[in-house]
Every structure is written in structure tokens, then in C-alpha cells.
Symmetry: C2
Subunit: 515 residues, 2 copies
């Protein structure tokens, strides 16, 4: 497929109205890539949002089968892009091809899971209160409730999952599944990848006979573009995965609108891992190996990267640190997604390493090319951790801090001082269960997902997944951005009172309720 | 029970630290009532929020039976207040005793319905994905999800329902049902009523052996008090029913916090009633009678008051207007809740009556005392309605505007220009169903509840009720503030991955899932 650098506005392609063009960068060389991309401006935001608003009425009323077929058609079209998609994504992100192939599988699997969810229909959340005509003192009306789409949604592609959390990623899939048109703000770090997937979605809209406004793709390197999109009165909700600063900026814009709208931003998490004494005594080396694999996976560029280790001082923790130090020391440097991300990683790890309270346990192997991150493992004592907020900041990349605690009470105290997190992880053996039990309530109030004897970097796309958590992990602890529950972000309830059966939507008619 | 004018902070009563005391006002006389109430300041906000945060850990982990028993104990204690409660409420609000007795019934019915909802347990929203150990290429973990309370909630008592949307009203009931402690900001228009109900809740907390911080009541006449409460970092969500200006002010404070929190504000709605030709031809007089009864009920002081009538010009509409004019002309003036509300009603109805485009159809009977509202019915042509935003503002009270349209297409056009609403109502006969069908989709996107052949002022407390709607009807179209679905506002999901059964919360253990 030809990549042209145009904006995709409904069924058309339009050269962006902003003067500045932009290019992807190959982070493994630092070189600008050759393709030129146009930058969308106010005119394209206007056109895309107008089309999305027009499309909403018909799109939200598609049947479950029509909508599910459309989601599945997107999968077909993405897979039909073949190696070209992987080639561009690898070049633009520095991610290994195998990772990207896996991510493509995750992306289409996610779309198919939402297609199945749409077909099952439980997302409509149907509730019925039958009339009670002879109730005293007043009769009860017949009340029937279903959920419908909230309206056009602005979705921001994430840098770290150029497929699974980008153009046709989880936010797009759940918004489309909910019956909401999507105006996609592509991440400027992977413009060719974005355009390819955008064209696959655009083609699926046409293939499915839907209103062209169901999907538009806007690209541009300026931050003003995203702000203008969130400010557009036709946009009714926002999905975002990225930095705390970026998410907060969008939240401020959304809150300042004449009509404020919800922003579902997944932002910042350091994902504590708690190592219990029994587990450390039994298998410190194995835990260390798995931990470092999780830490360095994808150059550490996961929202769920384990950036914090909590444990009680002792021989078990010493053994863990020795094994983890050896593993990190031998970890190859890995190309980061963008020069900017690499710059921030280098700055933050240097800042932490310069703290008087820190002991640097290990750095990974030296870089062999530009923008490669050297993994980092540090040690601080719990008292120092508690006294300096610098340790609570997310470092995006393969950097983790072991917090050595004198006792389990201090572990609990450290937990109580943490901000909201996406995950917390227990490494425990049967002998640790009662100790762990005491920490569960505090963690439930801090995190969206608690794992036992795993590592947080795998986020299953499933019905019971929560990829969310209290602020600043996300902007709204009441939601998840991964898994089928993500659809509720984009739905709102409507009640029909005393409707004649013939006037009710299909899913609320007597015949449908009897099924 | 003695009313002392104290703040209720956990189990204690505390004289508010602000210098200024305040009094209720009898709106039927305009006289200050004799009881003196203290004003809470920063110290009481601090104490109440600190206690609420302490109480959260134990309260959210109460069993469903414990929590339901507590809600039912609140009912017992409210009913035990007997006539004293009704006496004070009638004096402070000017509402008739029969209305207040009905509202008390609604209030305890609401608490009991939430108690039953808590016992049923579906609010936990349990989801389970079983492990698939032999899945290729990677095994699937065991994932189990439940919802828990979001944390301490600030609830603002509403002026227009001194019982059902005040201290132990719908927001409090749903937050307590969700496992969230409540810090209640009492409405200054009914301080004695608030203190009585607050003491009933405080006593129920003690009777139930719960942490005292589960409930506190703050009173004060300043708007700074509510702002300080919403700004407190321990508050995790806000429930509010009131004016658009008040709701927006709280939304701005919540969004500007270092940790922004959701505000569930139910604010402003003019509740269009659409009269179809068949219904008008068959029963214009009957519709007019029911309409005026709904319009003037409770001096028109309902969020769902029918402030707008849409119909096509013709003999049917003429007959409706004649009958409605006669009924409004004979409607007694009624005391409004507060002097300020009456002042605003008078100002707004005068402003509308002074519009060059308006024809005043009727005013109700002249006042016989202070702060009595004279019902108002006006007529504007659709073209004038569409050209002036003044017609879109809520008038809180018994004022309604008939918008005469040349044809049904214009009715649709008027609907498309409306802001978000709580309700829309159809008056239709079988011959109108196909005409009405064409309007349903546009209304679904504008309102939370659509009624057929009823009037919107009755809001059933039920599973399928939606008392919500797009902005500015509420701050968040994805929720309802009446009915059992209101509980989801105060819940967030937590996922447990690969937990040993013994470490799981009870509701997610194998034994519970098999039941």
C-alpha cells in the first residue's frame, strides 16, 4: 500500500493544512526516515469531527452483527497489510519484529474479542422493571433501560504499542464496539505505521457500508493538534495512553470546555513487586531471573514495568539482589522507542543514581548504537525512600529500585505512601499467605490489579482484566483500558418509560427479553 | 430530639469554627427561624475527612449483610423521628406536610432498596476468566474481578428534596451501599431537618458498631465550605444536585485538584414534552390538565418539571393551549423553597414575559403571602425559539413555554437544538407511533429518560430508572442519580491474578462462584 502522508478524513485523503511537515525517525540510527507526513490543523479537526458527528446517528444504530462484522473486517484488512506493516513499525519504533508480530496478533485478537462482546449484547446492560398497575398509592410504570454510545470519541495513539494501543488498538476497538465514531490522533513517532493501519480501518468502513465519518485519522507533530481535538464540541469522550504530563494537559482542556467531557487517560505507574520471606528463601534466584526478564522486556517500555521492589532485609533479599545484579549486568542495551524517550530515561536514571541515599546495584551492557537504554537496578533503604518523593516518579524504561525494609510493617508503610498504581505483584510461597493477606486491603485501595507469582508486564485481554487504577495510574479509577470492561467508558444509559412495544428498540422489546 | 446547631463529626458534635452562625427561614413568612446553627470551617472539614479516610478501610470490608443492616437501621432511626422531622421540614421549606410524608417514604424506600441491592451482590460485578495452563504460545492466568468502593464521598444536600435528596437521600444511600464513607454538606435552607436526619444516621453508625467516620455532617451558609470539602485530598468523588452554576463550580474545583476526582452533578433540564397530532385530536383537554398538574406540583420545584412543550400548530394545539391556559389561570400561588429561589423565579419569568417574541398565555392566581410563585405559561413560535438562547435556560419553578411549530420537521429541528435533558415526554395515540419513532433517535442522544403518555415529574426509584442525561442535565451522561444503577458511580474494579483461593476476597473464591 502506498503511504502518502495525507490525513484520512472520512473516506478522503487530505493534505494537512499546517505548514510544517514531519518525518518518522529510526531510533536505532537516529536518522530521519524518508517519508514525509503532512500536519493536520484546525480545518482537518473541524472536518473529521463534523463527519464523526454525522456518522454517530447511523453507526450507533447498527445491529450487533453489523458492528461486529466491521470490527472483524478491520482485522482482515490489518492482516492483509502483511510484512509491510511490520517493516514500517520496526523501522519507526526500533522494536524487534517478533514483538511487533505478537503485538499485531494482540491487536486483531482484541478487535475480535470486542466483536464477540458486541454480538453477545451484555454490554447493553439491559434492565427491566415491569409495570405494576395496581400498586398503591401510585401505579408503577414500565421501565426499560439499555446503554447506547456516548458520541464521537477522540483516541490518542500511544508510542509504546504502535499497534495494540495505537490506531486500531484497545481504545479504538472499545469505542467502535460501543457504537462511537473515532477521531484518531496518531502518535508522531510512528506515522507510517499509523497511516497503514488507518487506511485498513478506512477501507473496512467502506467495505462495511458504514458512514464515512465512523473513522478519521489526524497526524501532526504539534501538541496543539491534540488539544484542538479534545476541545471540539462534537467530541464526547477521550481515550489516551501516555505520560502523566500529557494526560493531565488533556484533562485540563476537557474540564475547561463549555461542556466538560470525560478523559480516560492511562498515565503513570511504578508497579511495586513485593517479595515475601518464604518465596525469597525458596527461590530467590528464579524470582530474580523472572524479574529482570520482565524489567528489560521491550527495553522496559511498558506501563506495567516493575519499577519498584519491596522486601525485608536478610539473606533472601541479598540472594535476590545478587542474582538480579548479575542478570541486569548482562542485559544487552536496547533501542528505545524515540530519541526523546531515551533522553528522558538517561536523565532520570542519572538523577536517581546521583541521589546520596542510593546504591547502584547494576547497569546493563553498554549501548552499541544510538538511543539504547542501559538497564538500571538501584537500592535504597526504606527510610530514604519514604523521605524523598523522587523515588515515586515513573521512569519509563528498564529501571527499578529495590527498597530494603527492616520489617514487614515497614513494607506496609511504604505501600501506604505510594500513589495509585496499575499493578502490584506478590512473590509468595504458601508460608507467606497469611503475611500477604494483611497487605491485600491496602493494595486494593492503591492498584487496579494484584498478581501472585507472576510479573505485571503481561496484560491479558480478557473479561476480568483491569488495566487501570487510582490516580496517577489513570485519570479515573473506575475504568479499565484493557479487556472487555473497557467498553463501559463509552456507554451511557437511556430509560424508556411506558413505551408501546412497537416503539421500543429491538433489544428491549418483549420478544427480545423472553429469549 | 434536641437540635443544637452543632456539626456532626463522626460520633461527636462540634460547634463549627467559623464565626458566623446562621438560621433557617420560613419561606411562607420570610421570617428567620429561631434555632441557631454553627458554621463549619477548615478544621471541621479536616476532621470529617480524616475520619472518613480512617473509616474507609473497615467500612468497605463490611459484609453485604452488615452494610444492608446499617442502611435499614438508618430507616428505623429516621422513622423514629416521627412528626418532629416533618414539622421542621415543613417550616424550613414551605412544602406541604403530605408531600414531606411522601418524601420520607421515598427516602426510606430508597435506603431499603439499596440494602436489598447490597445483599444481592450483583453490584460487585464479578467477572472470572479461568486459567488456561496449556494455551499456546503462553498460558492464560486465572483472572477474577470485583468492584470495591472508590473511597470517601462528599455529598451535597439539595434544596428541593429536603429528605430524598438531602442528608440520607439517594446520593448518600448509593455511596454508603457502595462501601464509601460520606461527608455530607447540608443545604443551608433546611438546617434543622438536616441535623435531625444527620443524628439519625450518626446513631445508626453507632448502633451498627461501625467506625464513626462512616458519616459526618457539615453545615454552614458559606459557599467556601463546599469548595473546601471537594478540594480535600481524601475525598474521592462528589455527589451533587442543584443549579448549573453550583455544579460547574464544584466541577472546576475537582478538576483543579492535584488528584482530579469525578463530580456527579445533576444540574439543569427543561424536559421537553412533545404533543403529537393524534393525541391532541383525541384528548387535548385531558393532556392539558395532566400537564398543568405536573407543571405546578411542588410549586414546580422538580428537576424534571416540564418547562417546554413542542407541538405543531393547529386546532389540537389550540385546544390544548385553551385548556392549559384555564388550568394555569386557576392554579393557586405556592410558596417556594427559599426567598432566593423565589427571587430567581420572579426575575426569570419577568425576563421571558418581556421578550418581544413571547405571548403570555396565562399566569396563576396572585400570591397570598411572601415568596409565592405564580405559575406561568407562555407561547413562542419555533422560529423565535430557535433564534434566542434565552428560551433554553432552565426556570426553576412552575413556568413552561409552548413552542408552536409549523410542522413535524420543525419539531425535530427544535429538538436537535436543545441541550442535554433529564427527560423527554411523548403524548401520543396509536396513530402517532410512526411519527414518534422518527424522533426517538435524536431524543436518545439528548436525554436520559423518554416517557410515553406520562409526565416527567414522577421519578421511580427502581433498577431501570435513569435520572441523568447529557450535559448540562448532568456533569456525566454515563450515570444516574436515582435508582440502583446509581451505585456504580462510587465503585471501581480490582483484578486478582492467580490468587490462591485462600487469599481471594470471599465473593471471588471458588465456593462463592459455584453458588
Amino acid at each position: 500500500m502506498t503511504i502518502t502522508g495525507h490525513q484520512l478524513i472520512g473516506s478522503r485523503q487530505v493534505w494537512g493544512s499546517q505548514d510544517n511537515t514531519f518525518h518518522g525517525v529510526d531510533p536505532s540510527t537516529g536518522q530521519k526516515l524518508t517519508l514525509t507526513f503532512s500536519s493536520a490543523g484546525a480545518a482537518e479537526v473541524e472536518q473529521a469531527c463534523a463527519l464523526a458527528a454525522q456518522a454517530f446517528a447511523s453507526y450507533r444504530q447498527t445491529t450487533p452483527d453489523q458492528r461486529a462484522d466491521f470490527l472483524e473486517k478491520i482485522c482482515v484488512n490489518i492482516l492483509a497489510l502483511g510484512d509491510e506493516l511490520i517493516d514500517h513499525a520496526a523501522r519507526e519504533t526500533g522494536l524487534p519484529r517478533a514483538r511487533l508480530e505478537g503485538e499485531r496478533g494482540r491487536t486483531v485478537g482484541q478487535l475480535r474479542l470486542f466483536a464477540a462482546t458486541v454480538r453477545k449484547g451484555e454490554w447493553q446492560g439491559v434492565r427491566v422493571d415491569r409495570a405494576i398497575p395496581d400498586r398503591q398509592p401510585l401505579p408503577r410504570s414500565d421501565l426499560r433501560l439499555r446503554h447506547i454510545g456516548i458520541g464521537p470519541v477522540a483516541v490518542f495513539g500511544a508510542s509504546n504499542f504502535p499497534l495494540a494501543f495505537s490506531v486500531a488498538g484497545g481504545d479504538t476497538a472499545s469505542a467502535l464496539a460501543a457504537g462511537c465514531p473515532v477521531v484518531l490522533k496518531a502518535h508522531p513517532a510512528h506515522p507510517a505505521t499509523s497511516e497503514l493501519v488507518g487506511r485498513a480501518v478506512q477501507q473496512a468502513v467502506a467495505d462495511s457500508g458504514l458512514h464515512e465519518g465512523v473513522f478519521s485519522l489526524l497526524a501532526g507533530a504539534s501538541i496543539e493538534l491534540g488539544g484542538a481535538l479534545v476541545a471540539d464540541p462534537r467530541i464526547k469522550a477521550v481515550g489516551f495512553t501516555g505520560s502523566r504530563g500529557g494526560g493531565m494537559a488533556l484533562m485540563r482542556i476537557a474540564a475547561a470546555r463549555p461542556e466538560p467531557i470525560p478523559v480516560f487517560a492511562e498515565m503513570s505507574s511504578i508497579n511495586p513487586v513485593i517479595l515475601f520471606p518464604g518465596a525469597l528463601a525458596a527461590r530467590a534466584d528464579a524470582i530474580a531471573g523472572q524479574f529482570v526478564a520482565s524489567l528489560t522486556m521491550g527495553a522496559g517500555q511498558f506501563c506495567t514495568n516493575p519499577g519498584l521492589v519491596l522486601a525485608v532485609a536478610g539473606p533472601g533479599l541479598d540472594a535476590f539482589m545478587a542474582a538480579a545484579t548479575a542478570a541486569v549486568t548482562n542485559a544487552p542495551a536496547a533501542t528505545m522507542l524515540t530519541p526523546a524517550i531515551h533522553g528522558m530515561f538517561s536523565k532520570q536514571t542519572a538523577e536517581l543514581a546521583g541521589q546520596p541515599a542510593v546504591k547502584q546495584l547494576a547497569r546493563g551492557l553498554a549501548p552499541t548504537g544510538p538511543h539504547q537504554a542501559q538497564a538500571a537496578l538501584m537500592l535504597v533503604e526504606s527510610a530514604d525512600f519514604l523521605s524523598d518523593p523522587v523515588w515515586h516518579n515513573e521512569v519509563f524504561g528498564a529501571s527499578s529500585v529495590v527498597v530494603r525494609c527492616p520489617d514487614l510493617e515497614t513494607v506496609a508503610e511504604v505501600i501506604s505512601h505510594l500513589e495509585g498504581q496499575l499493578t502490584a505483584t506478590f512473590q509468595l510461597d504458601p508460608s507467606d499467605v497469611e503475611t500477604a493477606r494483611a497487605l491485600v486491603p491496602a493494595l486494593e485501595e492503591k492498584v487496579g490489579r494484584i498478581l501472585v507469582n507472576g510479573f505485571p508486564t503481561g496484560v491479558e485481554v480478557a473479561d476480568a482484566m483491569v488495566h487501570g487504577g487510582p490516580f496517577p495510574a489513570t485519570s479515573d479509577s473506575r475504568i479499565t483500558s484493557v479487556g472487555t470492561l473497557a467498553i463501559v467508558r463509552f456507554l451511557r444509559p437511556v430509560c424508556y418509560q411506558d413505551f408501546p412495544d412497537a416503539l421500543l428498540p429491538d433489544s428491549l422489546r418483549d420478544a427480545a427479553l423472553k429469549r
